[in-house]
């Protein structure tokens, strides 16, 4: 059973997914599910508001394009600011995870 994303990691997952190439909202949910071996799942209810927010913040940009099955879809891609933010988020996540792991390994 895939877990819903941890609070605060949604942005990170979206940015990471989009760093691999442009994708539409549905595609992002699929990619996250596949790439995490079905361990992680983003919920639509949080995804779309988050995409709109990040678009307004200038981290990603959107474009209507034809999807694989010839329907119009809103494709998102990373901006320069998005790439920068991703690097920062990744670093901070690693620090955080390491700190938590160390804390839990206390005997």
């Amino acid at each position: 059973m895939p877990r819903d994303t941890l609070h605060g990691t949604l942005d990170l997952l979206v940015l990471k997914t989009l760093a691999r190439g442009p994708e539409h909202g549905y595609g992002i949910t699929c990619q996250v599910l596949n790439l995490s071996n079905e361990q992680l799942r983003v919920e639509e209810g949080s995804l779309y508001p988050a995409l709109r927010r990040m678009e307004a913040e200038g981290l990603i940009r959107a474009e209507w394009k034809m999807s694989e099955n010839s329907r119009r879809a809103r494709y998102y891609s990373l901006t320069a600011a998005g790439h920068k933010r991703l690097a920062k988020e990744v670093a901070s996540w690693r620090d955080h995870a390491a700190a938590v792991a160390e804390f839990l390994s206390l005997t």
Partner: protein, 858 residues
Amino acid sequence: MLQRFLNLFRSRLLDEDIREELDFHRSQSSGAFGNVTRIHEEAREASTYVWLETILQDVRYGLRQLGKSPLISAAAVLSLALGIGANTAIFSLINAVLIRSLPVSHPEELSLVVKPNRKRGSRGAFSHPFVKVLSGARSFSGLIVTAGPGRINLSIDGVDQRVTGETVSVDYFRVLGLTPAAGRFFVQGEDVPGAPDHAVISYGYWQRRFGLDAGVVGKTFDKDGYSYTIIGVAPQEFFGVSAGSSVDVWTTFSRTSARSLNSPGMNYLQVIGRRKAGVQPVPAQAEAEALFRGHVDQFTSESTWTPREREMVRAGYIVLEPGSTGLSSLRLQYSRPLQLLLAIAALVLLIACANVANLLLARGAARAREIGMRLAIGASRTRVMRQLITESMLLASIGGVLAICFAYGGASILVTIISSARGSNPLALNLQPDWRVFVFAAGATFLVGLLFGILPAMRSIAAAVSSERSTSTQPFRARSGKLLIAIQVMLTMVLVFGAGLFLRTLVNLHGVPLGFRTESLYLTEIEFQPGTAAGVKPEVYAALLDQAPRTPGVEAAAICQPFTGGWTNDVLIPSYSTEKVEVHRYQTSAEFFRTMGITVLAGREFSSGDRAGAPRVVVVNQTLARKYFAGRDPIGQVIQFPRHDTPSQIVGVVADVRVQGVRVEIPAAAYSPTFQGLDIPIFGAHTLLVRLRGPAPDWSSRFKEIHPSLRYGGGQFASEQLRNRLWQERTLALLSSFFGGLALLLAAIGLFGNISYVMARRRTEIGVRLALGAQPRRLVSLVLREYLVLVAVGVVVGIGASLAASQLVRQFLFGVEPNDFLTIALAAGVLIGVSLATVFFPARRASLGDPMLALRSE
């Protein structure tokens, strides 16, 4: 970010966008999607500024609300536009006269060099020798020297024109840091005697006279008998360094006489210094003052100076004043009246605010249900409050935008009014609105919107809340409405009373007997071709006095010098004292007293026998006779004038005249005959006076024919000249009456709105009373009495406020005390009369209605 802002204005497109995106997702995925509407809303909120969007909503809703009661809205917007517009117009004037910097580079580095003169309240002026000394000051990188703007004659292609000319230092434009719009400016060496006569013209003159013709550089014109070549045009935004006048032609001191250039006593220059970067005003002032001290001590050490003269000159000192706004005698003259006008306009704006607040109160009452409903279904009070404040801000903003248009027109009208009151000395101001004017208008609009918005908004909410419990909240609201009316009446009282004082001042000033007949007395300024020898002048006068009376319509003609302005001498009256006394001096031709219509009280006028070679004679005025010959007959006594070899015998005493203006105390004056030697310097204007039987004569072209050295200097009727001298009083009387009338109108509108509203609310009560047999007349008087009390309270408080305020304007009054009873009574009477008339008609209409109709309507 921009996207997010833009999304505000395309909310429908945005919705479409989100729906399609979500639809696509649902078509792809087979699983449950959750609450589509919620996701949609959240996505939408993330895409735009919600708080801004609700404000836009409020604005749209507010506009619809204003549209629902167009009459009230229009009345409110108009009151506000008039109020804010009047304030902005006066502020633009204040901005142009007092605040706006000269359009030159680094105006903050400029310092006015000023020689204060306490006795006359003026600034004093400087001589060429001192300017030369000052130009060595290390604190200044340059000096801007000017003889000040003045009216001059020039002729281009044979056509004579009167323009405003200014003689300036060659450095003038360079030190100001200006770039010519065409040609070039003066360079070093162009001011030395014998240098070619060059001139720079203003952009405005270039446009008016030459149609911006690029070939203007190199054109020539005649001035003072010399041919000047135009070498350049000043930039468009530059009118000169004196706010209030607009210079057409600049020339250098190249034609200034050696006497003017070299005598340290010829003080006629005004100086602005540009401080070097980093030099503060205080050390610069110390340096200038030290230079001045050395200069004065040196030139007054000569033995030709009497101790008193020496003391007077040495008492002078120098200060530096901020010069970024340029030279301006206007600043001294106008700052108090302009501040007064701004205060008056602010009161009018307050009245307008009270008016709008009252209108909104009445409308708020009608909306109590709507607001109650909104509160009931869960809107917070602050949310509803915000909606109501948005509406009043909207009202204020529309008013504000209109106001800026009004202000732009109004300020030009103001300048026209002042200019027409100043007559031949019109006012030229740069009224182009700048950021200060916009900030002022926006600030006023914002404050006003809050001021009139908050009270009605709070009342509306309170009313809506209490209406859930009881049905009638009328006493509560009626009370705030009545308070506003009392305040309006009070403010209006102050304005009407002020207008009354200024009007009476003007009437009093016009009523002062002048001692001579001004109507049909025509004054022409006499000028001479430069370089005319002093010896030629008697011959010119003789020719003029011979020719002028032969002009059709002329009854009598005379020459007086100086007719306007004044010249005083310290004279010795042996029979009075061995100390010299100060008297005003005039030199007049024989017919002067007859032409003016001045009564000869004792002795005789001048005759043709009083000429060079004959014993010196003098005629004195009544004040001189009273002051220095108290009780004795002055005829036959003598006065010794300075530089006269023999004393002059008093041959006549004439009535006092007020030539200097009505507000000036009549000085002791002595009249000497023109033809016994001209010893009053040429600075005082020579005036040809003629008593007319018909229309004004046109001397302008005839003067040259009468004598080749004679030049025409402009003419006007004496009545016109005196009227112009009262321009400040006329302007104040005119504008305060206008604002007083406006205040009265606004107050009447407010009162009318309130009474109409109250009568509508009380229809049932009135219906019941009528049905029970009350007489309509008694009902009307009941209502009238209620309002009379209200107005009376306003008037009484207003009288108190008026008395306090009028003390502040004492200096503007003449012949009327600031607590003048008659003016108070008149103002109160007008106010009560207008109020009762305004209340009477709505009250009568209500009392004459069919009672059954009123009862049934509830």
